[in-house]
């Protein structure tokens, strides 16, 4: 039987505010346990949560960036369950009136562009952390994370493969960093994905029973966990069994998903509007001012790269796929305005290759965008050839100095002295009579032989354009 996979994602993006969503305690990562959990976060009697303005603004920013309807009246609810890292016995979240309504975002998989629906995005508070392996007979609880603002972004079940799910997650990941609402750090848990996965016979409209996959902290694991779950469900259904609706934990070490204890019976969170918090009203003025301050979105940047810089669709897509990459490229463009394609090739070619090889993020590159920009300028003004530039770049990477210092120290400056090149060309022509004959009888390819000889004689420093022109005119 042919099966179709259906995936929806729930993404929790930690909003990069200084203080918590309902208290004035710090959200700084990595502080001493419980040093940032105040009376409000602990749910001590008599405290009152007060909503953080920045958390609201950041949620609105996201909504505008995915073309969503912003619910100008939205409400906080209590989601009730018992767990030690949730001191109040309920999580403040939004159920019926979330701040962000329906929106959409485009993903590119292979050659195809596909629109994925965003069902909603709502504000909520994070829970604390339970640590199970610190004490033998106890679970240790650190409540520093309790009350950190989260935006839960829920997608429509629009994805049909693990690859599409990863493409969507990466798009959202890039977007939240572009608009500056989340640092996107997956290791520290600032950006977390849960995947709802089900399968159904190809052509059937009714959705199959889904399993929710949790504990996925990288895009690589997201793809693996989904594929693993699809296989598991296929095996069950093909053996005549039934998929049970449940939450499953992904174990990256064992490469398996396993059933979690049934958290609480489904639909028993007994949500109700939080009486401590009044409905939130977002004015037209606030909405307009956030809209006006929204930075250039990836999709707009991509369009501009194509229209104004003349880049092709693929290059523009890659260069805008991460904010840090786009920032690097745009810094490089300064001084190289007419060589955008060359800059793009260098970022996506030489630079990316070395970054990948050494597993370095572009923002930590040993060669800064300004430094690489200078190197490209030296190609642009014919000081060095593109080929020599690769050697200079490697020396820059190894910390041997700036492009100009290396070009000077190694004597790599291109020969543009027509007289000197002419002398060399004349000598080569005189010494290689048979090849000259071949060229004259129509063998165009032999030109490469002469270029090679000339490059050898000048240690690669002859200006290739000049050399080519001179060879042609002398040989014909």
């Amino acid at each position: 039987m042919q099966w179709e996979t259906v995936i929806g994602l729930e993404i929790h993006a930690q909003l990069s505010t200084k203080s918590k969503i309902f208290s004035s305690a710090s959200t700084q990562f990595g502080a001493k346990p419980n040093s940032q959990a105040c009376a409000v976060d602990l749910g001590l009697p008599g405290v009152l949560p007060v909503l953080n303005k920045e958390a609201v603004n950041k949620a609105i920013k996201f909504g505008l960036a995915v073309n969503a309807h912003i619910n100008q009246r939205n409400v906080f609810d209590r989601k009730n369950y018992f767990y030690p890292d949730l001191p109040k016995g309920y999580q403040i979240s939004q159920l019926d009136w979330p701040i962000v309504g329906e929106g959409e975002i485009d993903i590119v998989v292979g050659e195809n562009t596909k629109t994925i629906g965003v069902t909603r995005a709502h504000l909520e508070e994070d829970a604390g952390k339970s640590i199970h392996d610190l004490y033998d007979d106890y679970t240790a609880v650190d409540l520093n994370r309790a009350g950190t603002p989260l935006l839960e972004i829920v997608s429509e079940p629009d994805m049909r493969s693990a690859k599409e799910a990863v493409a969507y997650a990466k798009k959202i990941h890039a977007l939240v960093q572009y608009i500056g609402i989340c640092d996107g750090n997956m290791q520290e848990g600032s950006f977390r994905c849960d995947a709802n996965v089900s399968i159904r016979p190809m052509g059937q409209e009714k959705l199959g029973t889904r399993a929710e996959l949790k504990n996925i902290n990288s895009f690589k694991f997201l793809e693996k966990a989904i594929n693993l779950e699809v296989e598991r469900q296929q095996d069950i259904l093909e053996d005549g069994g039934e998929v049970v609706q449940e939450t499953r934990l992904y174990d990256a070490v064992k490469h398996e998903t396993r059933s979690m204890r049934s958290k609480e019976e489904a639909n028993d969170y007994r949500y109700f509007p939080d009486p401590d918090l009044l409905p939130v009203e977002i004015s037209n003025e606030l909405l307009a001012s956030i809209k006006a301050d929204l930075p250039e979105l990836p999709v707009e940047k991509k369009a501009r790269f194509i229209a104004e810089l003349g880049l092709n669709e693929y290059d523009a897509d890659v260069l805008t796929s991460q904010k840090s990459l786009a920032d690097y490229f745009e810094t490089m463009l300064i001084g190289n305005e007419s060589n955008a394609k060359l800059c793009a090739n260098w970022v996506m070619g030489e630079l990316s290759a070395l970054l990948n090889k050494n597993q370095i993020e572009i923002q930590d590159s040993p060669v800064s965008a300004q430094e690489l920009s200078l190197l490209i300028q030296r190609i642009g003004d014919d000081t060095i050839s593109g080929k020599i530039a690769k050697d200079v770049f490697k020396a820059m990477w190894d910390g041997e100095g700036s492009a100009d210092q290396i070009i000077d120290a190694k004597g790599l400056k291109q020969m543009t002295d027509t007289g000197a090149i002419e002398a060399i060309v004349d000598e080569i022509i005189a010494n290689n009579a048979p090849q000259v004959e071949q060229f004259k009888s129509g063998n165009e390819k032999i030109l490469g032989f002469f270029v090679g000889q000339a490059m050898k004689a000048t240690q690669g420093k002859a200006n290739p354009k000049l050399l080519n022109e001179m060879l042609r005119s002398k040989l014909t």
Partner: protein
């Protein structure tokens, strides 16, 4: 609409309330009379009315995003049933 004793028992479990058989009976009776009182609302046409989320006709005031809280964990931990080195300790919870 009315609640069965079984449903009330389930609600009590979710709230971690332990009820004796008598308490279960009397609570079921009380809850059902509250429900029948609220049921009178069903006679009113509410199609065009926005559901109320709060009894006060006010909107939420927002706070500036500033850190003003200091670390008071020592006093908070002094009243906790059990603490370790900076952690609150609870009976082992197995995932």
């Amino acid at each position: 609409m009315s609640l069965s004793e079984e449903q009330v028992g389930q609600i009590a479990y979710l709230a971690r309330l332990s009820l004796s058989d008598e308490e279960l009976q009397s609570n079921t009776k009380d809850l059902n009379s509250i429900l029948s009182l609220a049921e009178q609302l069903a006679e009113i046409k509410t199609d065009d009315i926005t559901p109320m989320a709060h009894p006060l006709h006010m909107t939420q005031r927002l706070r500036e995003d500033k850190v003003t809280e200091k670390d008071q964990s020592e006093s908070f931990q002094a009243i906790a049933p059990k603490t370790g080195k900076r952690h609150y300790l609870v009976p082992t919870v197995i995932e």
